[in-house]
Amino acid sequence: MIMNRKTPFFAILLVVICTFLTSSGQYFMKMGTDRISGTFLSIFNIPLISGLLLYVFGAVLLIIALKHGELSVVYPFISLSFIWVLFLSVFLLGETVLLINWLGMILIVMGVVFIGRGAPNE
């Protein structure tokens, strides 16, 4: 029954995982760029390389998701990246987050739920 939809659930699952991987990847890459010193070899540090790999793997998942789902359904789920970045800022970077930011997070989640609900069947 699930496969009757133009955008199967597993395509949505893939893009959600993709956003998590690309957001974490970006975090590690940023960490890695902070470690770049004067030497050329300092570019090849663990956070930067693993961040890049995470990012690329996330992108691959997105491409697979696009193969099986509609662009107009899959793409809005990328906005979930903002939420991962929000959690990252709060729990790993200790940044101050306002209530209005959490409200924004709730709205984004509601938004993707509506998009998923609106995804048409075959």
Partner: protein, 113 residues
Amino acid sequence: MNELIIVLIIIFATFVSAIGSLFLKLGTKTLSLNFIKLLKNNKLILGIFLFGVSMLFYIWGVSMAKLSFIYPITSLTYIWISLLSIKYLNEKMNVYKWFGIAIIIVGVFLITV
């Protein structure tokens, strides 16, 4: 630099990014695990290239203005994608999808305030 010009740069970046995503989607029709075939997948390559170009413009814009100013503008991409999908991918929009995009855009604005 003039704020309006920065806004225009970002809007341009969002449009290029949307076109790139469109080509990416078109390219997945003939997606295969064969590496040679992947390299010959023109639409996929073009999509990735356009996405890269949009990133360059985006980074340029971000270097000149605050992220909290830039982020909300990037949510324009969702509108471009919806319109492009209708025109070129034969996808259908409906009230749920439009409303979802509307509150995502508001949410992006609030989350980056």
